[in-house]
């Protein structure tokens, strides 16, 4: 007999007993006292604030040079939301995604907590005294050596007095040049504008134009003051049947290009001959003929002729140039002459109304000269603030190598970026939301920047540090009387402190910023320069509309925001034309290597109709080797393949080289949120032509007749989506008590019908609404490399974690309650022009919702005021509702992104300080979706009750509608004629997505209006 044990050591019954009692104990502990929390009061209550009630502060956004006015909502000392300042002349209440994400710069978990000094190869934390002492010593040493003229200060785009202040400081110290380096600024256009119009950045009035022609000017992507341009462009589109036709000339269809009615896909580098030919055709004189230009550009002569014909006969029009080739200045010059010739200066190009002080910015040429000086060892000391030249310049300029030869480098960076990492001392600046400053959006008008909260960390405003250094320096002390930059700004203000304090609340004052000592933008070279290299393709590099030239990459909202064109997030990609891809055997996601004389980059391919077949395109913004956990190690930096070629004003030529393109080893699935780029006849995003609209043919029929619409009689609402509330009994006219669903119920809830209209004629697909939704509703980002769960946890060497950036998105687990769908129409053969339609898709708050009837626990149901409600604490996560939803707008919280103890936690400290206290942070296993910003509805109701009145028409709106720089979204009570939305739903362009499903949606879309060519 074998000796196998017959008696287990622990009997099964005993094991179960132990298990049972342990479970009971755990339950008892779990149910007893909750975690003890503390309530920490103030020492002294601050004036003018009430705990739990927001205080709004007007200030300025500094994410790009446009300097939009923002209002920061501050709750209990923490900024929780940024919205546009309605009174600001630039953005008039709207704000782009990048501006809104400034909050994630403020609360970035990788911000420097305090000063850092270099010990050997590392930066280590230090006190301000130690760090400043080192700087003072070095300044003294430079003085002794007599090399002060070689000291350089590199700052970012400076659209305020700070630039002039630094000029003064450098001069007082006896130091050399101050370079404000903005890689995104279109210096060529600014220089030409200065010369031709007398203003570097004239205001552009799209709404007044009868025809808009853009030669590479991506005015919706970040070229110039994109929010104000978008407001104006949307106003132009809102003229509907008589809106201006928009023609885009360029080798790549950017977001701006996708909004055009016609795309003239010219060969890269041929823009100049097109512009010259158009000018020659308009005013005579020398220059190529249209036929010659058309041949050189590979486009049809008739298309160019049509533009010229309209330019000649229809006034005013608006012609813009913004190409990235070495000839950018010449294209801009020709275009300026076209505008002058056809009388656009004044009506649509308004030199008197533009922002002031954007001029004295330098590009790669000046920075390359600095790098050469540094490499030659003639720069003893370098200050860097805001800019990140080590990342933002092509490698061939050897800026990083030059840094090694600079005696002492001081960074004022908030973040551990590539440049700061190479510095000897880091004196972290306050974030812009913690700083004082100003800007001049229109000549004579001052935008005021104030701190909206106390500094989060042990940081100091760079300007205050400079003043501090000046005070301790015998040579400089007498030059600066102000003890802080706040005093400096106030002292400059007309009327002094009191007038300043009065203007501060509105964020707008009168006055002018300090002018820079640097000269106005000017042409440095007037000759043409060819594209270099001898490859088969042209490489087009362009700033990302989301990440800019790279500064946005450390903000998870922006990483998670799909690129408006490609719908790709957390990744770099190479745009290849489908016909080219077919020729080279490239499938989507295949790695592609682009080689130029300057270097090469490799990234997965994205097949894109909107790129010239002879070109490939890569966006800037990714490929960081530092800059914090969200930016580092994602994608590639396209600058690695660019040489030092600049345009005539010294900005890096983004399209400068021919390249060879080859298929590389490997494949990466594209992290895209797109299901299909085509509608497959589903009629989701609809459009009419201007002619159809004018003829009254836009109306979609059969809105009014619905069978089985039981609750139609007693509930007010939109003409179609009348709430079929409460799933049965209460919706039945024969039922007795309808409770709160009865229109005459004392609660009055059923008298409202919250609804939304989205005007696709206005929507440009910019995605500002998406970020607004993330900010307002505590939506987690899920794409960071540590958040990815492997689908096969036991087969993965990495113990169940998938560290591919965007791994969760690849599985369709993104959480965007509001997404922008982008559909292409036509051009299937890859040769013809195609049309693009953008459609913001969110919960449609169906009156007859398929999700509601399948929920086993009533976690989703229809509220009497028309909301499709999701009750998180009822939800048990069956996901039946998501299966039932035809719009796919319900998002399941797979991994507990809101739970601090999880690796997937989306709000690592201090990002959690941004969370909106009015919205639940959802836990694992809960379905979530757009709530129509129910917290804002309740807030408005609370405020109205507090003031003893009804909610006033259009008193509040949702976060997406508030942010929209196209003013495409209107929200309100469709049951009341007083609200704008109830007029909007009567528009003849109104339709419901998937109307045939009888979902009776509360979101009504207004069809896009197309302006095909031909006579008008």
């Amino acid at each position: 007999m074998s000796q196998l044990p017959t008696q287990p050591v622990v009997k099964r019954r005993e094991f179960l007993k132990v298990l049972g009692s342990a479970g009971a104990a755990a339950t008892a502990v779990g149910c007893s006292q909750e975690r003890v929390e503390q309530l920490i009061p103030y020492i002294t209550s601050p004036d003018h604030t009430v705990p739990g009630v927001s205080t709004n502060y007007s200030t300025i956004c500094r994410e790009c040079s446009a300097a939009c006015g923002v209002v920061a909502e501050v709750r209990d000392g923490r900024a929780i939301k940024l919205e546009g300042n309605p009174a600001h002349p630039v953005n008039r209440g709207a704000l782009c995604a990048r501006g809104q994400a400034a909050l994630q710069g403020l609360y970035n978990p990788d911000r420097y907590r305090g000063p850092m000094v270099r010990e050997g190869s590392q930066l280590v934390p230090a006190t301000w005294e130690v760090a400043l002492q080192r700087v003072r010593q070095q300044i003294a040493a430079v003085r002794v050596a007599g090399t002060g003229r070689g000291v350089r200060f590199v700052s970012q785009h400076e659209s305020g007095s700070f630039g002039g202040f630094v000029d003064q400081w450098m001069a007082a110290a006896g130091f050399g040049e101050h370079l404000a380096f903005d890689p995104e600024a279109d210096l060529a256009v600014r220089a030409v504008n200065q010369a031709e119009y007398g203003s570097a950045s004239p205001a552009l009035d799209f709404a007044a134009a009868q025809l808009i022609v853009s030669i590479g000017a991506d005015f919706l992507d970040g070229w110039g003051s994109s929010v104000s341009q978008q407001l104006s462009f949307a106003a132009a589109r809102a003229r509907l049947a008589v809106a201006p036709r928009f023609v885009y000339v360029g080798a790549r269809r950017s977001l701006t290009g996708l909004n055009a009615d016609e795309w003239i896909a010219c060969r890269p580098g041929s823009e100049l001959s097109i512009a010259n030919a158009m000018l020659a055709a308009l005013i005579g004189g020398g220059g190529p003929t249209l036929a010659e230009a058309a041949t050189a550009a590979g486009v049809s002569e008739a298309a160019l002729q049509a533009i010229v014909d309209v330019l000649r006969t229809t006034r005013p029009s608006l012609v813009l140039a913004g190409v990235g080739t070495p000839d950018a200045h010449l294209v801009a010059q020709t275009v300026a002459r076209i505008n002058k010739a056809v009388g656009n200066v004044g009506p649509t190009v308004k030199p008197a109304d533009g922002p002031v002080g954007l001029g004295a910015t330098v590009g790669a040429q000046a920075m390359g000269a600095l790098a050469a000086e540094m490499n030659a060892g003639s720069v003893p000391m370098l200050f860097v603030r805001g800019a990140n030249p080590v990342y933002s310049l092509p490698r061939v300029l050897q800026f990083a190598e030059g840094m090694q030869r600079v005696g002492f480098k001081v960074s004022f960076s908030c973040y551990p970026d590539e440049t700061a990492e190479l510095c000897d001392v880091v004196l972290p600046d306050n974030h812009t939301l913690e700083s004082w400053g100003d800007s001049e959006p229109v000549a004579g008008t001052l935008g005021l920047q104030q701190p909206v909260m106390d500094p989060l960390f042990n940081t100091r405003a760079a300007a205050d540090v400079l003043l501090d250094l000046a005070r301790g320096d015998a040579a400089m002390a007498s030059r600066f009387s102000a003890t802080s930059y706040r005093d400096f700004v106030m002292a400059r203000y007309p009327g002094g402190r009191e007038a300043f304090a009065q203007a501060l609340a509105g964020g707008i004052g009168s006055g002018s910023t300090l002018t820079r000592a640097a000269p106005a933008p000017a042409m440095l070279r007037t000759t043409s320069a060819p594209l270099t290299g001898d490859g088969e393709f042209y490489l087009i590099v362009h700033p990302s509309p989301v990440l800019g030239a790279g500064a946005g990459a450390n903000k998870p909202w922006l990483q998670e925001l799909p690129d408006p064109v490609s719908k790709i997030a957390w990744q770099s990609w190479v745009e290849v034309h489908p016909s080219t891809a077919a020729r080279l055997g490239i499938r989507p996601g295949d790695h592609v290597t682009i080689t130029t004389p300057a270097g090469s980059v490799t990234a997965p391919a994205y097949l894109y109709l909107g790129i010239h077949p002879e070109a490939v395109a890569v966006a800037l913004g990714q490929g960081h080797t530092a800059y914090g956990r969200y930016a580092q190690g994602i994608g590639i930096n396209a600058l690695d393949a660019l040489g030092a070629t600049v345009d005539g004003a010294g900005r890096l030529a983004w399209t400068q080289a021919r390249a060879t393109v080859s298929k590389a080893e490997g494949r990466s699935p594209l992290v895209t949120t797109e299901g299909s780029a085509r509608q497959h006849g589903r009629g989701i995003a609809r459009a009419v032509t201007a002619a159809q609209l004018a003829a009254g043919e836009a109306r979609q029929d059969a809105h009014h007749e619905f069978i089985g619409d039981a609750s139609h009689e007693f509930l007010p609402g939109l003409r179609a989506p009348v709430a079929n509330d409460a799933q049965g009994d209460l919706g039945d006219p024969a039922s007795g008590s309808k409770g709160m669903y009865a229109p005459d119920h004392w609660s009055g809830m059923a008298s409202r019908r919250w609804a939304m209209t989205i005007d696709l004629a206005r929507c440009t697909g910019c995605s500002a609404c998406v970020t607004a939704c993330y900010a307002e509703n505590n939506i987690p980002t899920v794409g960071a490399r540590w958040q990815g769960r492997s689908l096969r946890p036991f087969h993965n060497a990495n113990s169940g974690w998938d560290t591919t950036p965007g791994a969760n998105i690849l599985k369709g687990r993104e959480m965007a309650w509001l997404r922008i769908e982008r559909y292409f129409e036509g051009g299937e053969d890859g040769a013809a022009d195609f049309e693009t339609r953008f459609l913001p898709m969110l919960c449609q708050h169906c009156g007859n919702a398929p999700c509601e009837s399948v929920c086993p626990v009533f976690a989703t149901y229809h509220a009497p005021d028309g909301l499709n409600v999701q009750v998180y604490n009822r939800c048990v996560g069956t996901r039946y509702c998501s299966n039932g939803c035809p719009y796919k707008v319900r998002y399941f919280n797979w991994h507990g992104y809101g739970e601090v103890e999880r690796r997937q936690y989306a709000f690592p400290e201090p990002l959690n300080l941004q969370l909106n206290p009015d919205v639940t942070v959802r836990g694992k296993g809960v379905m979530e979706k757009c709530s129509f910003c129910v917290q804002r509805i309740r807030d408005a109701e609370n405020l109205a009750a507090q003031e003893g009145r009804e909610v006033a028409p259009d008193e509040f709106t949702t976060a997406c509608a508030q942010a929209c720089p196209s003013r495409a979204i209107v929200f309100g009570d469709a049951a009341s004629e007083q609200w704008s939305v109830s007029r909007q739903v009567e528009d003849q362009r109104a339709y419901h997505v998937f109307e045939e499903l009888n979902t009776f949606t509360a979101v009504v879309y207004l069809q896009k209006v197309n302006h095909p060519g031909g006579p008008r």
């Binding site: 009061p41 020492i43 009430v50 705990p51 509220a863 604490n873 639940t920 309740r938 507090q946």
Partner: protein
């Protein structure tokens, strides 16, 4: 042990567990009703409210204008206690006093040295789950007395959680309505309660999304 007997035991155990869970849920055992933690300062509500006649809103100053009622800043306490020390000899008919609570307060806020004051880490008693939004001001402005939900705080030497704060407890009031007379009675205003005897109960919306979002 026979197979049948073990099955009886298992199902019996299950039945008892389910019954216990059900009972505990029904009785509100999952609530922290009655929670009365010791506080860093033994603040005597009765002395301040009943003897000195202070209004709740003097300290909980945001209760009528914010979702959060607000806690008194240390400066609010010291507005009086800068001149009211822990010990006092007999004056004008008042017995001498040795108030330990004031001594505790002064540990956080030494008299006359505001720069050294520290916030008092009060232990939170009333806490709704984070998926519930309770706007204090709507209730206070509707005439709901503080004592309706918080109980006779004016008599509590140490504050405890009076009501269960469970959802059923909330909804009961929203559906049936708040009787002003009951609220005034709870606040100790007998005369007011009598005068308000015929006031209609005030109802409130009870849709889920009024509180849960």
């Amino acid at each position: 042990m026979s197979g049948r007997r073990s099955w009886v035991l298992v199902s019996g155990f299950l039945a008892i567990t389910i019954a216990a869970l059900g009972l505990s849920a029904y009785s509100g055992a999952s609530s922290s009703q009655g929670f009365a933690p010791p506080q860093p300062v033994d603040f005597p509500h009765p002395r301040h409210v009943q003897q000195l006649g202070m209004n709740c809103l003097y300290c909980h100053y945001a209760a009528n204008k914010s979702p959060d009622p607000g806690l008194p800043a240390v400066g609010t306490c010291m507005g009086c206690h800068n001149i009211i020390p822990p010990t006092r000899s007999e004056i004008e008919g008042f017995a001498p006093r040795n108030a330990a609570a004031i001594a505790q307060l002064l540990l956080f806020a030494p008299q006359g040295t505001p720069a050294e004051w520290q916030p008092i880490p009060w232990v939170r008693i009333h806490k709704l789950p984070e998926y519930v939004h309770f706007p204090h001001m709507r209730h206070v402005n509707a005439g709901v007395t503080c004592q309706t939900c918080h109980g006779p705080v004016q008599e509590m030497q140490r504050v405890y959680q009076y009501a269960s704060l469970n959802m059923g407890w909330c909804v009961n009031c929203h559906v049936k309505g708040y009787k002003l007379a009951d609220g005034l009675l709870a606040a100790g205003d007998t005369a007011g309660a009598q005068a308000a005897a015929n006031v209609e109960p005030k109802k409130a919306r009870y849709d889920c999304a009024v509180c849960h979002y």
